[in-house]
Amino acid sequence: MPMTLTEKIIARAAHRESVSAGDIVIANADKLYIKDLRFSKKEDARGLYGVLLEVLESIGKPNVWDGSRVVVNLDEQPPRTDRRAEGQDRARDFAREQRAVLYGGDDGGIGHNVMVEHGHVTPGEFIVGGDSHTCTYGALGAFATGVGFTETVGVLATGQLWLKVPRAIRFDLTGKPGPCVVGKDIVLWVAGKIGYEGAINRTLEYAGAGIKEVSIESRLTICNMAVEMIAVNAIIPADARTAAYVREVGGGDFSPLSSDAGARYEQIHAVDLGEIEPQVAAPEYPANAHPVGEFKGVKVHQGFIGTCTNGRVEDLRMAAKVLRGRKVKSGVRLVITPASFMAYRLAEKEGLLEIFQNAGANVTSSECGLCVRPSLSAGEVCVSSGNRNYRGRMGPKESSVFLSNAATVAASAVAGEIADPRDFV
């Protein structure tokens, strides 16, 4: 029976000839990603490792199912609270004792970036992660989805999880993106168009001739925001760009897979990349997206460039084009947090960090940063290159967050109000 790419990967992971949407299967994970926060005592007083050891003992297993398939990352460097520091200690204990792969020094940054940049994502793999943005890895043609604390423990103990094969939506991309239009604009446009009702708990596949015009970094953004459409995962079949990237970062060998002709899709949408303008998502939902022009003049107090969505070097280059020779408007703060140290060093080498500093931006070390902790006061507005603008995401519930690409953030920080980056480059 014809299968979508997502169905093919799930079928292989479930040791089945074929699966189709609605089937309930037991899948074997190829990889598991865990962030340091999971090891803190935030979600469970015993911490993840404590709970895991109890489970392992009661089922008579000495260790996790396969430590070599587990990647642990210390997202917050340096840890800001004693609880986070203790969580990181436990994460290190776990990695050492269970022989898992650990990142968190000068090779670190945000875990999803680290996973991709260090070759831990190979097309065709079935990857589970203890963070909702694990769906990012679909950009390289893997099936990847996020799970909670308890399920992370379950996968560590057994290597398995149960799964309902999601119904599929396909986006057929054509054309080329216009100026200042990148993955963020494409995914916000798509979210704005189909909304949550269309995407909830589905798999989203981006394909068509236009996909070759979309960089790997932009593809990562598009798949990163699948969870913002409440989808299970997003996936982009591996092509020549993917193969070159995976080779460059030292990923595994793979045979390219794609969906079969005749595979079943609940919806198919045509997307002409040339018609998409830079997008802004207004509070309080990522799908509340419209062309940037509709928001011109909205006063901005803070700009934030970073996150697993848009803190890669493509984003930093876009921001630098806008900020070169300009100044952040007096009274506005602009915080720039390269998502990984790999991006940080590349940006430094290309002179981007100097441009940011000269513009009056605050450049920080690589971490999730302002996306996960409060930085706004009541009534303040932030334009962020991140993924979430829910009520109270970056401060009190009276503060608000608009989402955009990095160039729009930079332009808005210079103008002191939401601005079209095409007027600046």
């Binding site: 037991i26 979600e43 799970v147 909670g148 423990v153 103990a157 149960w162 009520r391 519930k397």
Partner: protein, 153 residues
């Protein structure tokens, strides 16, 4: 398995409530809810319940407040799985939000996939949980399920 039918008073919430606003017993939506909810109460939500983050302290706070079950128009995959994994029965049921108001009593059959509204006597059909989810709930969550030898195989 009879424990998978629950009866209780309901509290109704709206659409598009994300994980962050569910923290501290729906604290982002109604900071006073944690003082109003009683053990055994059932939480009804609208569409897209639990969208966003995978953080587990939000659903755990509902369980710790004594909420005995969740029924929503639709629930994000991550959130629904997490509710089941922590042993808090949850089900999607289209049409539920329009049928009930705060304080109404309902009976939810998570095994059979139905919701009966006691006042009107109407029964709605929900999205029945997969057998694996039911087995996990019957043990009280994924951890007790695994500890009791319920490996997936």
């Amino acid at each position: 398995m009879s424990s998978l039918t629950i009866k209780g008073r309901i509290w109704k919430f709206g659409d598009s409530i994300d994980n962050g606003n569910i923290e501290n017993v729906m604290g982002g939506v109604d900071p006073d809810f944690k003082n109003k909810v009683k053990p055994g109460d059932i939480l009804i939500a609208g569409r897209f319940f639990g969208m966003g983050a995978s953080d587990e302290h939000a659903p755990r706070s509902l369980k710790e407040a004594g909420i005995s079950g969740v029924v929503a128009e639709s629930i994000s995959n991550i959130f629904l799985r997490t509710l089941i994994n922590i042993g808090l029965p949850a089900m999607e049921c289209s049409g539920i939000a329009a049928e009930v108001n705060d304080g109404d009593e309902i009976e939810v059959d998570y095994l059979g996939g139905s919701v009966r509204i006691l006042l009107s006597g109407r029964t709605l059909t929900g999205d029945r949980l997969p057998d694996f989810a039911v087995q996990i709930l019957a043990k009280g969550g994924l951890m007790p399920y695994l500890k009791s030898g319920g490996l997936f195989k």
